[in-house]
Symmetry: C2
Subunit: 384 residues, 2 copies
């Protein structure tokens, strides 16, 4: 399934030897057409990895024939040599696939500031091309894992006969991101690049952009959408946009569910906001509050830390009208003590924090995780 659920695509995932432990580390996704329309969304970090700079450039044509993805190295902050390596990767894929290098996107994930072992990566591209299969989606999804404990895929098939499928790695978000988030979506719907772009941006804005595991923004985050047109069907835009959003939503939830060291998935729901941007700002502030994230880890309904986080924002609200519910218990009303915090049951993995700004009718949901000792352990030893 995954990126090969939609007709017209082939994929492969292999071990090229980039990772020293011998795990799969190189994926190839190929669009066999008849159409090659594509769109992409990239990190908003101003320090962009070489593959991001490259892929942004090649996507200006609105067409992609293939995507090469590697784990085991981010190829970020690697200077002119890093960019040459990305270019060489696209050239190699183009050569073995018989397409132009300008039709090949590249995505990388792993440690920043280390050059990729091109003597392993380039032969890996040849090997992957030799193993391309219409059933290769799972293997591709596995090959892009870094600290992911499971690979992530999602598929939506519409009654009209077209499909949107995808794979993702890295518990994070588009901007910011924990480690690097790489996502490839494919569809056999027959659509133009501008429509793909519109649907992709609309979907990422309310899915990956609202998954905020640890507030850190990667240099490499990449989301690509490739359309083969192989279903022969051109869906209504809204139906297609819904399907893309559904796949992104599923992948986003899977990313949070597998975030580094997390023991709780936290749904931060901001209601009663004067504007959607206020709701998002407050949601992010809550989602990034380390003290609160520790409290949730300890199953402590410490609503004071929620109010403290709200208070740092510029959103419209009056402190003495704020309300906070944790798993449905309104522990704070009118900015003060509400229901007994002992009523809050936090035993389950999913925790919902509802913040009512009492300032309007807009709302937003941000997903995050708790902050755990395992997160610290995992990230204290990443490069050593």
């Amino acid at each position: 399934m995954s990126v090969t659920a939609a007709k017209g695509f082939a994929a492969a995932g292999i071990a090229a030897g980039i990772k020293e432990n011998g795990n799969p580390d190189l994926a190839l996704v190929v669009n066999r057409g008849p159409r090659r329309a594509a769109a992409g969304v990239f990190t908003s970090n101003r320090v962009k990895a070489a593959p991001v700079l490259w892929s942004e450039q090649v996507l200006k044509t609105g067409e992609l024939a293939a995507v090469v993805l590697n784990s085991g190295g981010a190829n970020a902050c690697t200077g002119p040599q890093g960019f040459q390596d990305t270019h060489a990767t696209a050239e190699k894929a183009a050569e073995v696939l018989g397409v132009g290098a300008g039709e090949v996107a590249v995505a990388s994930t792993g440690l920043i500031g280390v050059l990729l072992p091109m003597d392993k990566l380039l032969p890996g591209v040849e090997k992957a091309a030799a193993e391309l299969s219409e059933h290769g989606g799972e293997k591709a999804a596995i090959a892009i894992k870094t600290t992911d404990t499971v690979h992530k895929t999602a598929v939506v098939t519409h009654a009209e006969g077209w499909t949107v499928g995808g794979m993702a790695k890295g518990a994070g978000m588009l901007a910011p991101g924990l480690a690097t988030m790489l996502v490839v979506l494919t569809t056999d719907a027959d659509l133009d690049a501008p429509e793909l772009d519109k649907a992709l941006r609309a979907a990422t804005r309310v899915t990956f952009d609202r998954v905020d595991s640890d507030g850190c923004m990667s240099t490499n985050d990449t989301v690509l959408l490739l359309a083969s047109g192989a279903s022969g069907t051109t869906p209504a835009y809204d139906d297609f946009a819904d399907a893309v959003r559904e796949v992104c939503d599923s992948l986003g939830r899977q990313l949070i569910g597998d975030a580094e060291g997390a023991s709780k998935d936290i749904r931060v729901e901001v209601v009663g906001a004067a504007s959607e941007s206020d709701a998002v700002e407050v949601g992010r502030s809550i989602a990034r509050n380390n003290l609160l994230k520790c409290a949730i880890h300890g199953e402590d309904p410490n609503w004071g830390r929620v109010l403290s986080a709200i208070g740092t924002t510029g959103a419209a609200f009056e402190p003495d009208r704020l309300g906070v519910a944790i798993n449905g218990v309104w522990v704070c009303r009118n900015g003060s003590i509400g229901e007994d915090r002992a009523l809050v049951d936090m035993r389950y993995r999913e925790v919902t924090i509802t913040a009512d700004l009492a300032a309007g009718t807009e709302s937003a949901v941000i997903w995050t995780n708790d902050l755990t000792a395992d997160y610290v352990h995992e990230n204290s030893a990443y490069s050593s």
Copy 2:
């Protein structure tokens, strides 16, 4: 020493029974004059605790006769009852000291969203008043501790015969702050409230405001400066401002050195910035990056996470001109790989990260800590 190093002040620190473990939890600082000029700086969190609202109000006169401080409860998000409790605390202090309630500031620290046990606090104020001493500064400093492992004091005496002394609690900063930062500074210099205010704001801007342990901003942060005039000397403003900054700098460093769970003190030094505000923005972004803070904990000179943090800011820079040194080793030059990261020695508690934006001549220093499993443990169980 502490707040009683300057002439004209008395202080006490006692156990009122607010803390269930019987530790000291109430401090009283009294200005015996002849002058009572005072200034204060408070949290910029929009959700402000009752004592902050009270103290901001009473300081409008530019005079304070006394400060009551309690640990064991923040009296934040406690509604009208909480404000009445703060008022009653000031009234009680005024009554036993023979001053007006409008001359008494109140500061509280502890858990948010819990009413203070006034049946213990008010008798505690009487008890503290009975124990006031010109040597009571240490006891006062001990009584305001929460998760602090040591109490914090600092004193500067000028050759002209005047002194600035102070006490602080809570590893944090003015805005934001980890838990709550409470600071009381005293001086026997003879100065007016506007001069005190100017010197205090100038000092906190470059000291407590640049101590950023965990990016969280308290509802209760308070810094007060009281002047008795008892030295009979009116210092030159610059000399006085220097002394206040020196005391604040010392207390700020002590806060970082005792931050919850920290094993490293990290000096983030941003140089080559186009403006001071750019330098501060970049410094804060680096100081708040959880992934980097974990890496430093693991003694891993992971400079990619520094670049990633810089890239999220709006500061003026070109990615391919950025430089990063860790403990003096330029591991990143021109946005790419610099000296061998193996040359970086991170065995000691203090770690210096230098970020060169290569965009100008301005600079700033932000102090922070590493992120550790101990921080998570301590903050997972705070209220339970």
